[in-house]
Point group: D2
Chain length 408, copies 4
């Protein structure tokens, strides 16, 4: 009876198995990448070769065909035990694939075949090795108000702006850029698909942070980038408002973000367990595990871990069940699902931070040294709450309002 997360679909099981297969390789250089702030390029290439990177690409387009967000979360969770930075990179790419695979048939059903075809094209690219870099955040703006603009020009669009925290920026072949579409009727929410080779695209290597140092979450500068007509998806909602696509994107992306927090906590827990069951202290030379304070600390870690796992797996099982119903989702319902997902994010990330902190304490100072993985995990796990779309300052208001039946 282990409380570990487990996949529930055959495709998910294949993906999780692959992730576990990569663990030793990925973990082997995590400390080095953390120290140097270097992106784990070779490890990512290995994930591409094994098709783990193509988890959510349909099988017919070269992927594993994972359709369960729950199972995507489980695989990302496994990877994070070895390297949180790489796991985040894989997640942002895979979640984008999942969204394309989810939305495509719906666009077809609504008769919008061109968009559906474009999505298929992007998935095929992903299937053949293109990495997606998600460019959502901007300094000084919240998730619903991107300041990067897409303006129409004679033959398409011109894109201008600066994005931050663009994970995988060194290897991304295509950037998915949240933007403000300047329509005559007023600004709309939008997504621009920007090939790396587009003139005006530049990656500025700004990422030097407390943790998640190997994620290469640099800035992306977009200067008068000219894009073809089909490269910008104009969303159904105006700038500043939540749309179905934004909600789905958030629901798809956050699962893995939570899974990463959990994976970091699990890695810390495994390390602490190993530590206290092998180290002794003078003069009694009893194992640390034999001491009451250690037992108590391990108990609290175990309780938190079980709760975090239960919260995450139950929430994403419900997400799968909801999204699998086949009907188009009402925005109001999506808000409710999204509030549950945000609740899971808040809960699991806090607990993950607590768990790593408790493991650090259990290590009795040895974990504070840089040669211990705990010092990296302590820095990495603190990143989670800052991840979009809602900050810890914004999420409670959102969850509270949705719960209370007020407009979010």
């Amino acid at each position: 009876m282990s409380s570990e997360l487990n996949p529930v679909t055959p495709e998910g099981a294949s993906f999780v198995e692959l992730c576990e297969h990569h663990l030793a390789e990925v973990g082997g250089r995590a400390a080095e990448h953390d120290r140097d702030g270097s992106f784990p390029l070779e490890e990512l290439r290995a994930l591409q070769e094994s098709k783990a990177m193509a988890a959510c690409v349909p099988a017919e387009l070269g992927g594993l065909g994972v359709r369960s967000l729950h199972d995507l979360v489980v695989g990302i969770n496994r990877l994070a035990r070895a390297d949180g930075s790489l796991a985040i990179a894989v997640n942002m790419h895979a979640a984008a694939c999942w969204l394309l695979a989810f939305l495509g048939p719906r666009f077809t059903a609504r008769g919008n075949q061109p968009v559906a075809d474009a999505m298929t094209g992007l998935l095929a690219a992903a299937g053949s090795g293109v990495v997606f870099g998600l460019a959502g955040s901007e300094p000084g703006a919240d998730f619903l108000h991107p300041l990067t603009t897409a303006s129409r020009c004679s033959d398409g669009w011109i894109l201008n702006g600066r994005k931050s925290f663009v994970t995988s920026s060194p290897v991304a072949g295509l950037f998915v850029v949240r933007c403000r579409v300047e329509e005559r009727t007023g600004p709309q929410q939008g997504f621009a698909m920007v090939a790396r080779s587009t003139p005006g695209v530049a990656v500025k290597e700004t990422w030097d942070a407390l943790g998640m140092r190997a994620s290469a979450s640099h800035d992306l500068v977009l200067h008068d980038c000219r894009l073809p007509e089909a490269a910008v998806l104009v969303d159904s909602q105006s700038w500043g408002a939540w749309s179905r696509v934004l909600l789905l994107a958030s629901i798809a992306g956050i699962g893995g973000i939570i899974g990463v927090a959990l994976g970091l906590a699990e890695a810390a827990r495994d390390f602490a367990m190993e530590f206290v069951t092998t180290r002794r202290r003078a003069p009694s030379n009893r194992l640390l595990a034999e001491r009451y304070p250690t037992q108590q600390r391990i108990a609290e870690i175990q309780i938190d871990l079980a709760a975090a796992r239960a919260m995450l797996t139950r929430t994403y099982a419900a997400v799968d069940a909801y999204l699998g119903d086949g009907e188009d989702q009402a925005v109001e319902d999506l808000h409710r699902v999204h509030a549950e997902v945000q609740s899971a994010k808040a809960f699991v990330q806090r607990k993950a931070i607590d768990i790593v902190d408790g493991c650090l304490a259990a290590s009795g100072g040895s974990g504070y040294l840089n040669r211990s993985p705990l010092s990296r995990l302590y820095r990495d796990v603190r990143a989670g709450p800052f991840m979009q779309p809602l900050s810890p300052s914004e999420a409670p208001e959102y969850i509270g309002r949705v719960t209370l039946g007020l407009p979010p």
Copy 2:
């Protein structure tokens, strides 16, 4: 997408439906029973008539045949929303039935038909309306060291001792008494089945507590009670040690105890939601729900509630899966399951206390008045951590040791 607990077996669904059917009646006099410290006798009778009391009695013996502990938890959880005291009373009885129904076939399989038959007899009694009163606790002794003694005499046993916190004592027809069996080879763990009519049995009405006031958890005094040979089950372990039966009894009984805590929290949450979405304050006359601090508080309640529900449902789904395997359970494995159950108990009870406290705060002082159900819920929910077998001072050591692979 509600995070509420739901039954997973048909028998469980019937039980939960029955419980929900009783809610209005049970809730109607909960405040009165709490004030007066009176046992909800009529409500219990109604539960007997509907067979809800016989949830875990096999259908052929007059019950509902619920075999899923998970589903027992769900039904108890529903009852607790109306009256925690009654829910606890039902749980202790139903969990005893579950244990008898679970163990009987195993005794048959091991060739011990007399004990199996005795268990069938007890279940038949429960099916025809006998209420079980569990007598586990004693002042000044922990769970593994009952001081009540069963000594052999010419024609059976003599029982002496004093038990406390015997829920349902006014209506119990049969007391299940944890005792120390004085064998020549040393004291053993044991259970005595004591009919209320046995000479020497007396209920002392000592129960006057902060909360759970309607549970009539009085003292049971046993003075030279003579019992027939078959009335004492001598356990396989010596006094002071965990046995399979003790572990199974704890696993069976704690689920509903946790379910009660959750139900009290849910009731508080529903009341607080109703309160803040209907009350306004001068001079703005805005709804309380429109205020940021209220939204934030509701968000935290929602997060805690979702986590508590996930932890409880996942843990008992795993318990069902483990127990359903058919094999006899190794004590070592049962300890692991029991540690998970204790983790769920610690987590959910703490969260339930926090949730009720948050609801009290959300009510802005009105909940502090006795006319508000919140004041009762605040008192009731604090009882949970004191419930056997492990106190909050003992549980962390137990969970920690089991997790660390040390003898518990």
Copy 3:
């Protein structure tokens, strides 16, 4: 080296000594008053006879002449160890006296001798045994927006409204009623001094709460009460705004409220210490104090208690120093002082609740029974956060804004 609070002025030392002298008598019937919801009338009379009730009345008017709010807090803190309800009643009366004694000379200095004389008259009444009942709260209104109205009539004022939580209502000879003064230029903040014998005054015995049950904090109904001109103090600020007098009243009254919380925590701690150092448990019969979990719990209680004491004594030492400067206090400065006082209130009340809860846990279930003082302390201590003027939902915004230099 005890961390207990101690008085710093000779008058304060006399007051604290008196309070300690009364402890045994006050504590003797606290459980009875709590159970019956009866006001501790005889105990209050004894405090009047010893002049403890007249702590803040100047010596020349028959009191002890305590001018240090810090020392008022210390004495109230002592009383609360025996009975929180009585301590609150004494505090509200004494804080009102303190405010009158503080403001009188300042009105004289500003040439407003009639108001100063009225204040002297009130203090003389207090010196000769009149008890003040503070009527601040109202259902459905916050502190700054009382809905009770004082309207001018030919020969004075007509007062109408309903106040709640009027501590000491059975014995109060004079009610100090926060009201909205209906001036032609718009509503103003105001205080009405209402003799109990005034036609139209009625006490409705509504107080039946979770805790502080002996405080008789009933409703006060004011129906067309005619008051003389001098009985209403029209404040300098309009209705809804903070004035100097309101800030001073809050600063004066809250100290004792915090002191009560601390005293309840100290009483719980003393009880728990006595419990764990005298009780043993089978089979080892070791003292509970010898068990690691007990030691750890006592340590956390000790840490919290030391921090709560330090916060309270340091804050009110600073209040004394600030108010003793002699100058009229700028409203802006008073807000800063008031924010410190609110911080102390938030901190100490939270810690007091935690401490009592920890003591309950340390008592291992015995404290949950009504015969234990812990069950009363657990209920009493939860009242504190609801006490005016700022609720736990309002205080953080106030403290935050003042700290950030924004208008509160």
Copy 4:
């Protein structure tokens, strides 16, 4: 009315003023020293020139003559706002000086002039620029059981062992080494004074940690170091037991350690306040400070900060009062004082960690970048709980036992 700590003696005021004078210089290169793990050598030299390093050296021996531990704490607190690593280095040196100045006259009074003279000699050395490096910790041993041995030889002592976390190791001229003295009657507690130039002394540059990176807390290897007779102080207690000197050393050293935690929290708070009162966010462009969640977070930070300051200043004011009584301190009394000090350590360090974490959250992700001082403060402040003599696993048992009147 600021809640900042302030000195209470003239000598202390001079020291604090000096520390404040150095702040800009010290802070200027703190980020650089943190990044490179370089010791702030020039900054320390400046502190030596200004005599700040000689705070606790008597004036006649070239120091400032600070005798108040409270005031030592205040000065260290100021330094930590600029650089926690340097502040720790200064504290360990200054606390050693304080202890020598405190103990010297007591040895004289007891007729042990040689030891008193040796202490004067050490203080004179400190007055003329020698830096003390405290070597207390060892891997795999607790504070009371040092494994480094001092054995008698023909002309003095031979010292062998390895110490860790020896702050200031690059500049220390004299190491104060906690050791186990091998006496014929059994091992005793002891201190060895080891000049850096002693053959067999080697500093191993092992310090590479999560935070406090500039403190150069390297390992000290002692291989057959021959020391003169007078260089080893054989303590009155046997190895493994607390002695008066050990308790005084702990009381003297911990104050500044707590002051460092507080200073880091204050620096984080100042940074966060500056941040939220100057940054705006699209589309409203309101200041972050105008947002409710920010106000609330600042309020919690303010509450925690006020409580931490009150706890620290009150505790060390009591320490000064206790130690100033002139009498020799009974070990039992010293344990009580030490338990208060440990309580203050536990409380303030936890709150400091919370405050820095809250400031990081208030910064909305910007603080997570290495260019923000918050990322350094977040790492630095986590070091505190690991500092000797009692770990967070050991302190609760110690505090609890002393509070309960049990032998520690």
